[in-house]
C-alpha cells in the first residue's frame, strides 16, 4: 500500500532466485563486473588480443596434458611404447597428442606476438616494471616447457635433440658440467633424465607458470591497460571503453582462429612419432624444434675458448638488457617512430633470429650428406608412423624365455625340474604354490653348494612338507641346481 516499501532508487535492482542466491554466496556478479568492465583507454583494438589468446592455449595445454597422462609412463623403457599406444591405439589419441605438441608451437608464436606488441607499443612503460619482469619470466618458463616436453615421447628426434640441448649447457664455464648432470640425472641421457624432465614438465614448471600467470594478470589489472601508442603510460587521458563487449569479441576471434587452425592441423597433419630412441645410432643428425633453430645455429659459431662468449656472455647481456628494459627506459614516449633505437634493436634481434633459423635450414639443404641423412630420418619416421601398434613384451615373460637361451645347463635343469614334477609343488618356473614355497630368489640367499646340500639332505621342516631327498645322476643334479640358481 505504501510507496516507501519499494527499494531505494540508488541501489542496483536486486536479483531474484538462483542468481541472487549464488551471488550472495560467491560475489560472482562483482567478480564478473570487475573482469568485464576493465577500462581500456582509447578503446578496444585487435592489437591487444594476444594475451588472452595465450591464456586460452595455456588452458588447452593443461587440459590435453592431463589427459595424455592417462596413458603416458615416464620411463626410458615404457615412454615410447605408451606414446605409440596413444597415437596408434587410443581413440582420438593422435589428435590430442597433436593438439598438445602443436599447441606448444602455437604458444611460442602467440607469445612472440604478445611480446612484440608490448614492446612496439611501449606498453611496458609507466610503472610496469614488475608486469614486464613477470612476462619475461613466463616467456622463459614457456620455453622450458617446450624443452622438457620435447623429450617425453623418447623417439629418435626427442632423444638426440635433448642430448644436444643438454650438451650445450655444459659449455657454461665451471658449473656447466654439473648443470648438465643435474638435468640429465647422470652423465648420460637415460631413464632418470625422463623422470626429471617429466617432473619439471608436469609439476615444477607448471606450478611456477600458474603463480607467475596470476601475478602477471594481477599486475596488469593493477597498472591498467596501457592503451594506444598516443596514450600517456602514467596517467591515461583518452576515453576508456570497457573490456566487454568489443574487446572480448576481438579476443574471441583470435581464440576461434586458434581453435580452427590447430583443429584442422591436428586432424589433417597429425604429429608424427618416430622410431624409439636408439642411443647407439651414430648416424642420427639431431635437429631441434623450429623455435630453437636460431639458438642451435648460433651455438655452431662458438667453439673452444670462444664458447664462453657465445654460450654465456652474449646471451646473458641480451637477457639482462631485455629484463632491465622498463628500468632503463623512463621516457614517456611510446610512438614507435619516435623511438628509433628501440625499433632498430627490435628489428635487429628479430632479423638475427630469422636469419639464423633460415641459415640453419639452408645449410641442411645444401649439404648433400646431411640432406640425405635428414631425408632418411624422415623416411624412418613415416615408416614407423604407418606400422600398427605393437604391445611391449613385459619383463616377466622375457625372464622365463631367457633362461632357456642364456645357459644351456639351466635349460637342461628346467626339463629335469619338470620331468621330476618339482613344478607340481614349487610351481612352473619356481613361482611357488600352496604346497611349497617359491624358488625364485633362492640364489640370493643360498650358494649352489648350500642348495646341493639341501637337495641331498632336506631339513626336517622340508621333509615334513613332503620334500624328498633328490637322487639324480651327477650331471642332472648339477643342471637342476643351475636352473634353481637361475630363477630370479
Amino acid at each position: 500500500m505504501h510507496s516507501n516499501k519499494s527499494a531505494p532508487d540508488a541501489a542496483p535492482p536486486a536479483r531474484t532466485g538462483f542468481r541472487a542466491w549464488l551471488n550472495h554466496r560467491t560475489g560472482l556478479d562483482d567478480l564478473l563486473r570487475i573482469t568485464l568492465d576493465e577500462p581500456i583507454p582509447g578503446g578496444a583494438r585487435f592489437a591487444y588480443i594476444f594475451g588472452s589468446g595465450l591464456l586460452f592455449i595455456f588452458i588447452s595445454q593443461v587440459i590435453t596434458g592431463i589427459f595424455l597422462a592417462l596413458y603416458y609412463v615416464p620411463s626410458a623403457d615404457h615412454a615410447h611404447t605408451t606414446v605409440a599406444y596413444i597415437t596408434k591405439a587410443v581413440t582420438a589419441g593422435s589428435f590430442l597428442r597433436s593438439l598438445h605438441a602443436y599447441g606448444a608451437s602455437a604458444m611460442v608464436v602467440v607469445l612472440f606476438l604478445h611480446l612484440s606488441q608490448t614492446y612496439i607499443y611501449g606498453s611496458y612503460k609507466g610503472r610496469r616494471e614488475l608486469l614486464w619482469l613477470s612476462g619475461c619470466m613466463l616467456f622463459g618458463l614457456v620455453l622450458a616447457m617446450a624443452f622438457t616436453g620435447y623429450l617425453l615421447p623418447w623417439d629418435q628426434r626427442a632423444y638426440f635433440a635433448t642430448a644436444v640441448g643438454t650438451n650445450a649447457v655444459s659449455e657454461v664455464p665451471w658449473i656447466g658440467e654439473s648443470i648438465k648432470r643435474m638435468m640429465r640425472g647422470g652423465t648420460e641421457m637415460g631413464t632418470l633424465t625422463i623422470s626429471r624432465f617429466f617432473v619439471a614438465h608436469v609439476f615444477f614448471v607448471p606450478a611456477l607458470i600458474f603463480a607467475l600467470l596470476a601475478s602477471h594478470i594481477f599486475l596488469f589489472r593493477k597498472a591498467g591497460a596501457a592503451g594506444p601508442v598516443s596514450e600517456d603510460p602514467y596517467h591515461p587521458k583518452q576515453k576508456a571503453e570497457p573490456f566487454y563487449p568489443r574487446q572480448v569479441l576481438m579476443d574471441l576471434s583470435l581464440t576461434a582462429l586458434l581453435i580452427a587452425g590447430l583443429g584442422l592441423l591436428c586432424f589433417f597433419v597429425p604429429m608424427k612419432l618416430g622410431p624409439p630412441a636408439n642411443p647407439a645410432d651414430a648416424q642420427y643428425i639431431p635437429r631441434p624444434e623450429w623455435y630453437y633453430l636460431p639458438i642451435f645455429q648460433w651455438l655452431k659459431y662458438w667453439h673452444g675458448s670462444a664458447a664462453i662468449v657465445g654460450v654465456l656472455v652474449i646471451p646473458t647481456i641480451i637477457v639482462m638488457a631485455i629484463l632491465a628494459l622498463p628500468f632503463l627506459d623512463h621516457s614517456v614516449e611510446r610512438r614507435p617512430w619516435r623511438r628509433p633505437i628501440a625499433m632498430v634493436a627490435y628489428a635487429f634481434v628479430v632479423l638475427a633470429l630469422l636469419g639464423l633459423g633460415l641459415r640453419s635450414q639452408y645449410l641442411d639443404r645444401h649439404d648433400p650428406s646431411v640432406a640425405q641423412q635428414l631425408a632418411k630420418q624422415k623416411n624412418e619416421e613415416d615408416e614407423y608412423a604407418r606400422k600398427p601398434f605393437e604391445p611391449e613384451l613385459s619383463a616377466a615373460s622375457l625372464a622365463a624365455a631367457n633362461v632357456t637361451l642364456a645357459d644351456p645347463l639351466a635349460a637342461k635343469g628346467k626339463t629335469i625340474f619338470e620331468a621330476n614334477s618339482c613344478n607340481a609343488c614349487h610351481g612352473d618356473g619356481g613361482v611357488g604354490t600352496a604346497a611349497a614355497p617359491a624358488l625364485i630368489g633362492v640364489s640370493a640367499k643360498l650358494s649352489p653348494d648350500q642348495v646341493a646340500e639341501l637337495f641331498k639332505h632336506p631339513t626336517a621342516k622340508m621333509t615334513a612338507g613332503g620334500m624328498p631327498p633328490i637322487d639324480l645322476p651327477p650331471d642332472d643334479f648339477k643342471a637342476l641346481i643351475a636352473y634353481v640358481e637361475s630363477l630370479k
Binding site: 568485464l36 590430442l96 607340481a424 604354490t433
Partner: protein, 184 residues
C-alpha cells in the same frame, strides 16, 4: 557506469545498452558452451577408450593340429604359450595343459593346476589316473574327480578350432571350492 553493469532484468520499451549487452552475453555463453562441447568430444573419446575398445585381452593359444589328437589313447601333456594383452604391454607365459577326451569322445583340454591347492597334476600311466603329488587327489582320464581332497574335477578350458588347429583360452580358477569359478 557502476549501475550500467547490471545486465538482465530491466524490461524497458527501448532496447537499452544493457539489453544488448545481456543478449550478446547470452549469445557468447551459448557459443562458448557449444565450442567447449565440441572441444571436449576428443577428450571424452580419449578418456573412454577402455569402454570403446578392449584394452585387456587374453588371447587363445594354439595347442596343436586337430589330427594330432585324433587317435588319442591317453591324456597328452602340451605346453602352450599364453599371450595376455594389458593395455600397451603383453605378457607371454607358458603353461602345461592336458588334451584328453570326454565320455563322448570329444576333445577336451584340462588345466594341469590341481583344483585343490594348485599343485601341478602329473598323469600316471600305470594307474591310468591323474594323481596329484601334494595331497593325493586323483582324477579320471577325462579329468573328473575320483578321490582325494579336491572338491571338483580338473578344470576344463574353453576351446575352439581355427584352421584345423585346436585353440584354448587359459584361465585360472578358484581353489578349494566345488564349483569352477574364474579368478580375475
Amino acid at each position: 557506469m557502476a549501475e550500467s553493469a547490471d545486465r538482465p532484468g530491466d524490461a524497458d520499451a527501448l532496447p537499452s545498452l544493457e539489453d544488448r549487452r545481456s543478449f550478446l552475453g547470452a549469445l557468447l555463453g551459448l557459443g562458448s558452451v557449444f565450442v567447449g562441447g565440441l572441444l571436449s568430444v576428443p577428450l571424452i573419446r580419449f578418456a573412454l577408450f577402455p569402454l570403446i575398445r578392449r584394452t585387456t585381452e587374453l588371447k587363445s593359444s594354439p595347442v596343436g593340429e586337430l589330427n594330432e589328437f585324433s587317435s588319442l589313447a591317453e591324456p597328452a601333456l602340451k605346453t602352450i604359450q599364453i599371450e595376455q594383452v594389458d593395455g600397451w604391454r603383453k605378457t607371454i607365459s607358458e603353461k602345461a595343459v592336458y588334451v584328453t577326451k570326454d565320455s563322448q569322445g570329444r576333445l577336451r583340454v584340462l588345466s594341469s593346476i590341481c583344483p585343490h591347492l594348485g599343485c601341478t597334476v602329473p598323469w600316471n600311466k600305470e594307474k591310468n589316473e591323474f594323481i596329484c603329488p601334494c595331497h593325493g587327489a586323483t582324477f579320471a582320464p577325462d579329468g573328473s574327480r575320483v578321490s582325494g581332497p579336491s572338491r571338483r574335477g580338473m578344470d576344463t578350458l574353453e576351446t575352439s578350432v581355427q584352421d584345423g588347429q585346436l585353440q584354448v583360452r587359459f584361465q585360472y580358477f578358484r581353489q578349494l571350492v566345488s564349483d569352477k569359478e574364474v579368478i580375475g
